[in-house]
Amino acid sequence: MTTIAAHEPGSTPAVGEAPVFGLLGSPNAGKTTLFNALTGLRARVGNYPGVTVERREAALDLDGRRATLIDLPGTYGLAPISADEAVVEHVLAGRIEGVARPDALVLVADACSLPRSLPFLGDALRLERPSIVVLTMLDELVARGGTVDLPRLEAALGVPVVGVVGHRGRGLDRLRALLARPEDWTRPAILPPADRRERAGWAESIAEAVVTRPPERHDLTARVDRIVLHPVWGGLLFVAVMVAFFQLIFSWAGPAMDAIDAVVSSLAELARAELPSGWMADLVADGLIAGVGSVVIFLPQIVILFSLLYLLEDLGYMARAAFVIDRLMGRIGLEGRSFVALLSSYACAVPGIMATRTIPSPRDRLVTILVAPLMTCSARLPVYALLISAFVPARAVWGPIGLQGLVLLALYVGGALAALVVAAVLKRTLVRGDGLPFTMELPTYRWPTFRVWATQVYESAWAFLRRAGTIILAASIALWFLLNFPRVEAPPDLDPSAARAYALEHSVAGRLGHAIEPVIAPLGFDWKIGVGLIASQAAREVIVATLAQIYATEDDAQDSLRAALRADVDPRTGAKVFTPATVASLLVFFVFALQCASTLAIMRRETNSWRWPAFAFAYLLAVAWGASFLTHRLVGALVGPDWLS
């Protein structure tokens, strides 16, 4: 290693026995790949308080010496231009409670775009902490015919420089050896200039000296982009990739989810058979086992979504997809990268909300999270199917297009339009832009490495289980208690299904259903629908099973449930409960309302506070109530109550 003139002792803070390293660099410099390569799967992932910026740190064992590595959020400069970017500044200053102040800095820069990063490196050196520079993507530099003189860069900067290929693990041994001895790192003899213009000149002169051969344009990338970003083919490819992406999540997750369902119900049966009958057996079977099932059921979608997402991301396509669709998303104040998250939410809002992590602007990410529940997820389908098949006549409207299909389509389109309108409104009011311009790097295409890809997928699934799964489980068990307690003895002359209906009516949820009746009566809902709405808070499709229980029909015989719904009359007035107005109003309610404990849990996890899930729940409930009320009035005025019979 080149030795630089000894630095004046005492002018830089000493490094402790167990050093804390901060990994600092721009978003696409390969920081996170380097972090994972150094730490394996030991990262603690969380959020910084008050902002939706992910926090990652891990313990390092460097030849017996313990150290901590903090992966700082990617940033292009040290002068923050938004509250979220200020996190880097706060961590460096040790101002965030529970996050150790980094004693030493590992500055990461992409070797191919070194001239761009040099002013940032100069800025970081001015922090006067022991630092090393890690140049990543050396393989790409070589492939593009570029050379960088590392010893000369080391001499010019005055700190150690290591070249690595993070995803292949090259150069890591030397880096580890350096990390083990931060006391021995050379320090700059002269600090880079503070003035922005002077620093640019300083960076320019270094770039001229060390970039001995600038890299050529990546030939393969240029050729592939001629098709992938072509005005016509690029657009068509985008549509094809998105359709395939969506289709794969749906069709591959379906069988796995059915299998999980089957295992969960046979486990529940087993528990019921083994345990003495009584409420404990019910709790274990319907509360605990079903609750765990309601967490695990999300895993197929999450694993498939992130497998595809990270595959496209690691290949380099995700940035291109965002580039193609950016103009449309820009109209509503979001950017291209929000599109994939919203599309994923059509399958399920939980993985959709997790997919917002690829959106760099925290404000755009928050808005995307807040509107994701409006996309018509697959849990709404059983509800729509029940109501449409029971009440919308199966008659042809035009050729093969039937009325039932049109109603379903209208519900899907309505949700998507509402998401776009709400996003546009939020961006103009509550969650105004953070002043960040839209800037996105287009990486060169590269083959994904299995280890890097698998690590990302595993981390997403594990984060879901640990952080959201516990909340979902707790919510399912709490709802089970609401639906089953207090236990009231049914009159002995009732048959079993009538007894179950009786028990439900006298449970806390049943009483709540009665209690909220005045609030939901303007929407055309009676207490039975009220109980269904309360139960559907666990997951939307639960309302189907709950209605089956209330109407004392068998769960799996939907014909009898449909008949019971159609026949139900109000005991006081003798009028039909499910009028066209009420059915329309209930459908519209399901388009908007956030009846999903799992979505609330994942929002809590991703935004790091209950504030945003509470806001989303409240605004969507208000919109749902208002829209249902209008629908009920409108449909009631347009069609008479006898239209369906």
Partner: protein
């Protein structure tokens, strides 16, 4: 001095030298962080199918910017561009 225009007016395939980034606000500073500094050579690679944003190449990497940002970048409109988008990139400056 050569007459200057803004970067959003340069058609794809051309390569120009940056003269200045307008303003001294956070957006101007961010563009500076991204390498859009005076003296840097930048190529216009292509526009998105819908006309915006545009891919640029500078300092050895490719960057997408919307018109609202690229309109702040003043570039030299001299003929030294020669449409030479295929020359090596990554040089911080041209010789003065």
């Amino acid at each position: 001095m050569s007459p200057s225009v803004t970067l959003d007016r340069i058609p794809p395939g051309r390569s120009v030298r940056i003269e200045d980034v307008e303003g001294d606000d956070p957006i101007a500073r961010r563009l500076d962080d991204l390498g859009l500094r005076s003296g840097v050579r930048i190529s216009v690679v292509r526009r998105a199918p819908l006309g915006d944003p545009t891919v640029f190449e500078l300092c050895g990497y490719q960057l997408c910017l919307r018109r609202s940002e690229s309109a702040r970048v003043r570039v030299a409109n001299a003929t030294d561009g020669r449409g030479d988008a295929d020359r090596p990139i990554g040089e911080a400056t041209d010789a003065p």
